[in-house]
């Protein structure tokens, strides 16, 4: 009895999933095709972006957009009082600046370090230059993440604290004595 119920529940789940997937397919198929990208320069730029944009550039772009968007979101947070809001904005700006600068520099340096012999995989000669470049980005990012486990404490945290305090002091009319 129990097993019959279980089977009927499973088959109900399967049929629900298959119906949902079929609806998804129909919606996707109903979306009209985009016109092919005609501009040759745009196609070249897209391809170049895929080859050249590593996690370091991604971190830099994320940081640049974060400095515009995140403080604005914190400044509009009406769930907290005025003073908390100001500190929250200052801390967010400080975190973005410190995180972006160290994140970009460490990722870039680690990706560069992948040219060292010890990081080259044994079968790197069998793949294309593009594939090897992508390997350097991936491996360099993994190494950078390990390095950042330490720099998060050693650089990011004190630098964020310093910048936050600097902005709070500036905001309240100079350093308190």
């Amino acid at each position: 009895m129990v097993s019959t119920n279980l089977i009927s529940q499973i088959s109900f789940g399967n049929s629900f999933a298959s119906k949902a997937s079929s609806i998804g397919k129909r919606i996707y198929d109903a979306i009209p095709n985009f016109n092919p990208i005609a501009n040759e320069k745009t196609i070249e730029r897209i391809a170049k972006f895929g080859k050249k944009c590593s996690s370091a550039e991604q971190r830099l772009i994320l940081g640049a957009t974060a400095i515009v968007m995140q403080p604005a979101i914190d400044a509009r947070n009406k769930s907290v009082d005025e003073k908390t809001r100001k500190v929250s904005v200052a801390r967010t700006i400080a975190k973005v600046i410190a995180g972006t600068l160290t994140g970009f520099a460490i990722r870039k340096a680690c990706i560069k370090a992948m040219d060292l012999k010890m990081f080259k995989p044994s079968n790197y000669t069998k793949v294309t230059k593009d594939a090897f470049d992508q390997y350097k980005n991936a491996m360099g990012t993994i190494v950078a993440l390990v390095v950042m486990m330490f720099t998060n404490f050693l650089i990011d945290a004190p630098f964020t604290k310093f910048l936050t305090n600097l902005m709070i002091d500036e905001g309240s009319g100079g350093k308190k004595k």
């Binding site: 895929g50 914190d74 995989p121």
Partner: protein, 226 residues
Amino acid sequence: MKTPDLMKNFGQVTAKKFGAFKNVILEKYGEQPGTMLVHTGVLGWILSSLAQVGAVVVNDKIPSEQKAFLIPQEIADAAINIVSFYVVTNSVKSLASKLVKSGKLTTPKIMEHLKKTGLKLPKKGENVSPVGKWDFDITKLANYDEISDHFKSFKNGVDVGASLLGSIASCNLITPVLRNEYASKQQKNAISRMHNKQLQNLEAPCGISMAEFQNRAYSKSFGLKI
């Protein structure tokens, strides 16, 4: 076995494992930079969250009562960051990837190749072409190798761009809004808990009722301190 032999053995095993790991990374991400950005992004969030939680755990200046509140808060914050990043970024990237693979988003060179293959190309008002449909996959065509270089570099570019857009939306828009919502709820709960604790230890001064005294105490100390 003597200590130098043990060390030598350990060194050899580690070097072998590291060699295998490098080849796995080369095979897995060599031709999928978009996927690499999503996966290393998630790994980055996990490691930085571990650092945040670790910073609270090892901080001697935080009393254990506050740690009992701060550690679950940091873990919840980390969960929001990681889940939001993975779900949003991966979904946007997968959708972009599907658009290119199914032929909804193409270049004239890819269209020319599809025409050469003998496929019916999509036209306005007609719904007979398989190109752009969910089940259509350019990479599974018999003569895919002829266009693979152009197709891969175009698809990788679109994938990386989509991963970037997804990560901007999740890290700079969705996560801050969710985190603020969660943090303000936590802050309110913590303040009301502190109030309850303070009020439990209060005694009413002579001349006024306990309810009146509590009202006065509450109205005087309502300012949020940080």
